[in-house]
């Protein structure tokens, strides 16, 4: 089975699971993204048919929320908190450092496909700022050195 037809089968299965759930579109999109890493644009028609929505509705929801991606992203998602508490502790410098060392801007992926860099507005760790989230782990008091160590550890676990 090709990767594409496997993805299509996964999406069909998830649509079937969510079609009768009240307000099921967000849970469905989360499930698709968890399974295949993003919500492919080719899935919009199937989702619309399955949930009895228009394609415009589905596209509108996907494009509204920062979390949903329509294209493949890096193996790891690295988020730097840009909110005020982290700014008060130097997150602006951390952002600049991260962009420079990874040689990418926000919403871009490193050439090796390892890291996608994203801004985030608050991780709820505001007493020990600046905060960074790598996949599902949050890290506190992240300075340039600690950031480099986190990124190096991703390479080691590849």
């Amino acid at each position: 089975m090709t990767k594409e037809s496997k993805n299509t089968a996964t999406i069909e299965r998830l649509i079937a699971q969510h079609k009768s759930m009240p307000g099921g579109l967000l849970p469905l999109l989360h499930a698709i993204q968890a399974a295949i890493g993003h919500v492919p644009e080719t899935a919009v028609a199937a989702i619309a048919t399955g949930l009895n929505l228009s394609r415009a509705d589905v596209h509108g929801v996907i494009s509204f929320y920062h979390d949903f991606k329509t294209h493949p992203v890096g193996r790891h998602r690295v988020q730097i908190c840009r909110a005020e508490a982290c700014q008060s502790m130097g997150s602006r410098q951390l952002e600049a450092h991260a962009k420079k060392t990874l040689a990418i801007d926000y919403h871009q992926t490193t050439d090796d496909g390892q890291v996608t860099l994203e801004p985030v507005y608050c991780l709820g760790n505001c007493a020990c700022s600046p905060s960074v989230r790598v996949d599902d782990n949050v890290y506190a008091r992240v300075d340039a050195q600690r950031f480099d160590a986190l990124i190096a550890a991703l390479g080691a676990s590849q």
Binding site: G23, P27, D57, V61, Y65, F68, E84, S88, Y121
Partner: protein, 513 residues
């Protein structure tokens, strides 16, 4: 035999609590993973309970463990990280903990621990009361919504209790009412909801179930932000265990009453913390703000009567029903009753969760509890109430934390987040950021918010570049007026607060370059 505790909340984990727990296991000690006490500057905080009481060490690193264990065998107070009895630490001892009374005491997922610490007493009381009697208790307690708007919870609940669900195609006899918990805690500098969900999740479950009994709703949703993966994991387990022990579900504890509860995950949109936008999102739509009326209490989720309350409001309900309305109402000042979960954050030496009755001043919190800035530089500005809150200069720090007192000076308590900035802060850059944040997070429904914020960034840039500074300053004020008057919700309506306060109190920052 001593019992060891290492917290499993986001902040403790972010500072290496797992490594500390593993270091203990390497020494043959299995720690209990408790919730955090909220004394975040001490995390990871290792606690040891023995016959002599419960003592703490912190902040602990994994490589401190062998020496701590050795000290415990002799004289624990010899160790440099020794903190003494946890309950005697002034930061903790001086608090008035109601909502956070259980936080950090034990395993947050253990139902026995929860019940041993008076958990589900409020629910059991509620099960023997009429819906109207429960609503009366909440009204008498003086509890106001803790999400930011401070609307009296009792009035909201009464409206939903009195509302009649609309007939639907599937339920021609009338649909159902809903309880929705707003756990989309997006304000920078806030973590009080997170701490409840991670350190005492059953309290929220209990409060929501009581709300369901009070207004006649049988379905509840916790709308949780996706930025909280630890809270998500813990809540899911807690819900499963609560269902297994029949504290939620059908025929709760043999009472004949039903209440079903599930977690729904947000998707990274700040605006979904606004209640009508949250309801749209729960319905599976774009999180676009709705015009009010109709109020959500009359036409809320799927068009049905809905209670939408913040995590802290619903958690407080379990205290009200456990101890009675007069006990809760005895805390606080003026029309602000009960306790406030103050979250001390940003550039601060001792950041954390401070639960106190309303009325304490900002200065006491920042100077006495917080001990000044983390950097050691003087405090310059304090932002209270999240990204839409004003920047307060030193002349305002003696304002008591009370909804009305803050409103009088054009500030707001909001969800209780306090972000401290030291003297290196550039308040013009912060004003620009307030507009930039609105650009990123506006839902787009109201033109003044959607486009005004973009223009706001541009105008501030021109002011900072000294292009017709005086004229552009007038333009910025007019733009702020337009956003304030012409937006449906607080996103556009209050983004001018931080901007204007920065201009008023820190004007030199706008002409520095």
């Amino acid at each position: 035999m001593s019992q060891f505790y290492v917290p499993q909340d986001t902040t403790a984990l972010a500072l290496g609590a797992d490594a500390v727990a593993n270091a203990l296991r390497d020494e043959g000690v299995e720690p209990t993973r408790n919730g955090s006490r909220g004394l975040f500057w001490l995390e990871p905080l290792l606690e040891v309970a023995s016959d002599a009481g419960r003592i703490g060490f912190g902040p602990v690193a994994a490589n401190d463990i062998p020496a701590i264990l050795a000290a415990l065998a002799n004289d624990p107070s010899e160790h440099p990280l020794y903190l003494g009895e946890i309950c005697e630490i002034p930061y903790f001892k001086q608090q008035q903990r109601l909502t956070y009374a259980r936080a950090g005491v034990g395993d947050p997922l253990c139902l026995d621990t929860y019940q041993r610490l008076n958990g589900f007493v409020g629910l059991k009381n509620a099960l023997s009361m009429s819906p109207q009697a429960i609503v009366d208790q909440v009204a008498q307690s003086g509890l106001r919504g803790r999400g930011g708007a401070a609307f009296p919870a009792g009035i909201k609940w009464q409206t939903v209790l009195d509302a009649v669900p609309k007939a639907t195609r599937r339920h021609p006899e009338g649909g159902q009412k809903y309880i929705v918990c707003n756990a989309d805690e997006g304000d920078s500098g806030t973590f009080a909801d997170r701490l409840v969900m991670e350190a005492d999740p059953y309290q929220l479950i209990e409060g929501m179930t009581i709300a369901g009994l009070a207004v006649g709703a049988t379905q509840g949703y916790i709308y949780l932000r996706s930025e909280y993966p630890v809270a998500h994991r813990l809540l899911d387990i807690a819900l499963q265990r609560a269902a297994e022990e029949n504290f939620i579900g059908d025929n709760i504890q043999g009472s004949g009453r039903d209440f079903h509860l599930e977690v729904r995950l947000g998707a990274g949109a700040y605006i979904c913390g606004e209640e009508t936008s949250l309801l749209e999102s729960l319905e599976g739509k774009r999180g676009m703000v709705r015009a009010k009326p109709p109020l959500p209490a009359i036409e809320g989720l799927f068009g049905q009567p809905t209670v939408v309350n913040n995590v802290l409001t619903l958690a407080a309900v379990s205290t009200v029903l456990e101890r009675g309305a007069p006990a809760y109402e005895s805390f606080g000042m003026g029309r602000s009753r009960g306790t406030l979960a103050i979250q001390l954050a940003g550039n601060i030496k001792r950041g954390g969760l401070i639960e106190l009755a309303f009325g304490v001043t900002l200065r006491e919190i920042v100077e006495d509890y917080g001990q000044g800035t983390h950097s050691g530089l003087p405090v310059r500005a304090i932002q209270v109430g999240g990204p839409l809150g004003a920047f307060m200069p030193e002349s305002q720090w003696d304002t008591p934390l009370d909804y009305e007192a803050f409103a009088q000076i054009g500030a707001m308590i909001g969800h209780g987040g306090i972000v401290v900035f030291d003297s290196s802060a550039d308040m013009a850059a912060q004003a620009r950021f307030a507009m930039e944040f609105c650009v990123a997070e506006s839902c787009g429904k109201c033109t003044p918010c959607r486009i005004g914020a973009v223009r706001g960034v541009e105008v501030i840039d021109r002011i900072l570049a000294d292009e017709h500074r005086a004229d552009n300053m007038i333009l910025l004020h007019e733009l702020c007026d337009t956003m304030e008057m012409g937006s449906l919700c607080a996103m556009g309506g209050m983004t001018p607060y931080p901007v204007r306060s920065a201009i008023t109190h820190f004007s030199s920052d706008f002409s520095r370059r």
